[in-house]
């Protein structure tokens, strides 16, 4: 078990370094000059040079790369040239908002996707199945940015049921920082009104983010359920007189959950990527928004940092999925 954990951590580190190298290379394919941007419109060439040297941008690319990787090993993600702050610090500040959003969206996706998938497998080819099929594929096909705007218009602008954007209203001070997840922190602090308003704020972006995820969870769960329901041991269970409900809700579901879990892991990463769009639409102060605004100002250290962070969360999520696999499937529980 210890060696297992050790191996996992090693792989994780290796992958992280790989991602860092990959993104570093990618973001430096074309020469951009962020120093020019932050120096201001009227800055003279020597002023730009000052900034360039301050951020090591005057060095050759290989040199920059070596410096960057060296810093990375020491846990330093570099400094954002636009905000002049360490990237790690900024990523840590924005990450809880993103995670909160992703968690809520994932929760929605699982809670709705799994039962719907189950039902459409049981009533395969029935009207419900046809409806969920179109519904779920629509979920994947909906452009998140467009869908977000439409929801904003409907629920925030027209009906005024929910806020347009952001995490909290202006007057509401965020609760004391514990986890950074407002929903959790507000409960710990016992501020129910804060909990309630932050819930109102998170609903729309979470729905938009969860939609494709919900859809694919539904699809996978349905497909697996269908396959499992045709499998020999389910036939045997039927032949032994076990009730249909029990077969579907207990036996088959547990078996079908394995690939569904894999999909959840996959979708977790995908969601982190999609926050780029959803956070832009909903002004959600998370790492996606941070990445977009940095990318648009050619400030690449944060882009690399965010990519790395997303990769990190993704790998962690998948490790958790692996563990859950082992927990569910006794065949994987060796030694």
């Amino acid at each position: 078990m210890l060696t297992f954990a050790f191996r996992k951590i090693l792989t994780l580190l290796g992958t992280m370094i790989g991602i860092a190298a990959l993104t570093f290379v990618i973001t430096n394919i074309a020469p951009g000059d962020p120093a020019r941007l932050v120096a201001g419109p009227n800055a003279t060439e020597d002023m730009v040079a000052t900034i360039r040297s301050e951020y090591g941008l005057d060095k050759s690319l290989p040199e920059q790369f070596i410096v960057y990787m060296g810093d990375l090993v020491r846990g330093d993600l570099g400094t954002s040239i636009v905000t002049t702050r360490p990237v790690l610090e900024e990523v840590m500040r924005y990450a809880p908002a993103t995670l909160e959003l992703v968690f809520v969206a994932m929760f929605l996706g699982i809670v709705i996707g799994v039962p719907l998938g189950m039902l459409s497998a049981v009533y395969k080819d029935g009207p419900l199945d046809q409806v969920t099929r179109i519904f779920s594929i629509s979920g994947v096909a909906l452009p998140a940015f467009w869908f977000g705007i439409i929801l904003q218009l409907m629920f925030a602008v027209d009906l005024e049921w929910l806020p347009v954007s952001g995490r909290l209203p202006l007057v509401t001070r965020p609760p004391e920082f514990v986890t950074g997840l407002l929903l959790v922190d507000s409960l710990i602090a016992g501020k129910f009104s804060t909990f309630w308003v932050s819930l109102q704020h998170i609903i729309l972006p979470a729905i938009v983010l969860s939609f494709p995820c919900l859809a694919s969870i539904l699809r996978v769960n349905r497909a697996e359920m269908i396959e499992v329901l045709q499998s020999d041991y389910i036939v045997a269970a039927r032949a032994h007189g076990i009730s249909s409900f029990r077969i579907v809700a207990l036996y088959a579901l547990k078996n079908a959950m394995l690939p569904t879990l894999a999909m959840i892991g996959l979708r977790f990463g995908w969601m982190l990527g999609s926050t780029v769009l959803v956070e832009t639409v909903f002004d959600w102060p998370g790492i996606g928004l941070y990445a977009v605004s940095s990318a648009l100002s050619s400030d690449f250290k944060p882009v690399v940092g965010v990519t790395l962070m997303i990769g990190f969360f993704f790998i962690v999520a998948n490790t958790l999925v692996d563990l859950a696999y082992a927990w569910i499937d006794p065949r994987l529980r060796k030694a």
């Binding site: 992958t15 790989g18 991602i19 990959l22 993104t23 990618i26 973001t27 430096n28 394919i29 074309a30 951009g32 046809q130 099929r133 179109i134 594929i137 629509s138 994947v140 096909a141 909906l142 452009p143 998140a144 940015f145 467009w146 705007i149 439409i150 904003q152 218009l153 602008v157 027209d158 699809r219 497909a223 269908i226 396959e227 045709q230 990463g269 995908w270 982190l272 990527g273 999609s274 780029v276 769009l277 832009t280 996606g288 990445a291 977009v292 990318a295 648009l296 050619s298 690449f300 882009v303 690399v304 965010v306 990519t307 997303i310 990769g311 993704f314 790998i315």
Partner: protein, 312 residues
């Protein structure tokens, strides 16, 4: 369950001395295709997908010929008619420069088709090649290819593509290039896994035992057996690629004006929400229907091509 007897047709004609007709010679394939068609037709959603895709392809092919204002797609402006609501003159209304949105949306199908084909095509060519090599060769070649693939897969494609386009600069070509760069690993993974399992099949060993060279085996045995999932994935990816390009367009890194690309149209149009709702509604609906079409088609194809999900 035991396979249902399929031999209803093969017990047929005794040795015929006359040359066989085309129908007879290809009875097997004809039956197969008829079976596919039959299963496909049974599913409402598959047919809906097919209809949408065919419509999309028709619009991409003939769009410029049938729209009322073809010049709207090449940057003609008419400031006096800007932001008109949908009417009989302008079916989908007009945009902020007075261009007919209907014409732009329809002609945009061609842009989207191009985007989808190039991204999917490039990704598939690179991914299938690498995947098949990795799966068949094994050893360090596989290790290297798969490590790199996993690296790409560990970062969500959109985030990576965003970084690439931001570095290369906005524009449709860069956008397509960036998406192709992040898209191929999916094919590697698919094809590698498939190749690994096919490699263990007896018919591969059988081919080796008659002295087939590796390229022959890859081309005649492995590739055809990988095709079903590849076709399904490509169909779905056509949609997803269009969607991703539109997403980049939305962030402001996609197609440049006046080229009518749906995502970029929404990117501009979102600033005209909610009062000029038609501006973003129609391009958005176009993306949605196109992606939906390709996905439904892919899903329908999976049902008929992938025997796992098929119940005879």
């Amino acid at each position: 369950m035991t396979a249902a007897p399929m031999n209803t047709q093969i017990d047929t004609p005794a040795e015929a001395s006359r040359p066989l007709t085309f129908r007879e010679r290809h009875a097997s394939q004809i039956r197969q295709w008829r079976l596919y068609a039959h299963m496909f037709r049974k599913s409402f959603s598959s047919m809906l997908g097919l209809t949408l895709v065919v419509l999309f392809l028709l619009l991409a092919a003939f769009g410029p010929l049938i729209v009322p204002y073809p010049e709207a797609a090449s940057g003609a402006i008419n400031m006096s008619a800007k932001l008109q609501p949908p009417s009989s003159t302008y079916w989908f209304g007009t945009d902020e420069m007075g261009a007919d949105i209907f014409s732009r949306v329809i002609i945009g199908a061609r842009t989207s088709l191009w985007i989808g084909v190039v991204i999917t095509g490039l990704a598939a060519i690179v991914g299938i090649t690498l995947g098949i090599i990795a799966g068949y060769r094994g050893g360090w070649v596989r290790a290297v290819i798969m490590r790199i693939t996993e690296l790409f897969l560990a970062v969500p494609g959109l985030a990576l593509a965003l970084a690439i386009v931001a570095a290369l600069g906005p524009g449709i070509t860069n956008c397509v290039l960036a998406l192709a760069i992040v898209w191929w690993p999916g094919y590697v993974r698919l094809v590698e896994a498939k190749t690994l399992s096919i490699k263990e099949e007896l018919f591969i060993e059988s081919a080796r035992s008659i002295g087939a060279k590796t390229p022959w085996i890859l081309w005649h045995h492995i590739l055809p057996n990988c095709m079903s999932p590849i076709i399904v994935k490509m169909s779905m990816d056509m949609g997803m690629a269009i969607l991703s390009a539109a997403s980049l367009g939305f962030i402001g890194l996609g197609a440049q004006p006046p080229s009518p690309e749906w995502g970029s149209m929404i990117s501009v149009a979102r600033t005209y929400m909610p009062d000029w709702w038609w501006y973003s509604l129609f391009p958005g609906a176009a993306i949605f229907l196109t992606v939906l079409g390709f996905n439904l088609l892919g899903d329908g194809l999976r049902d008929i091509l992938d025997p796992r999900s098929r119940d005879r």
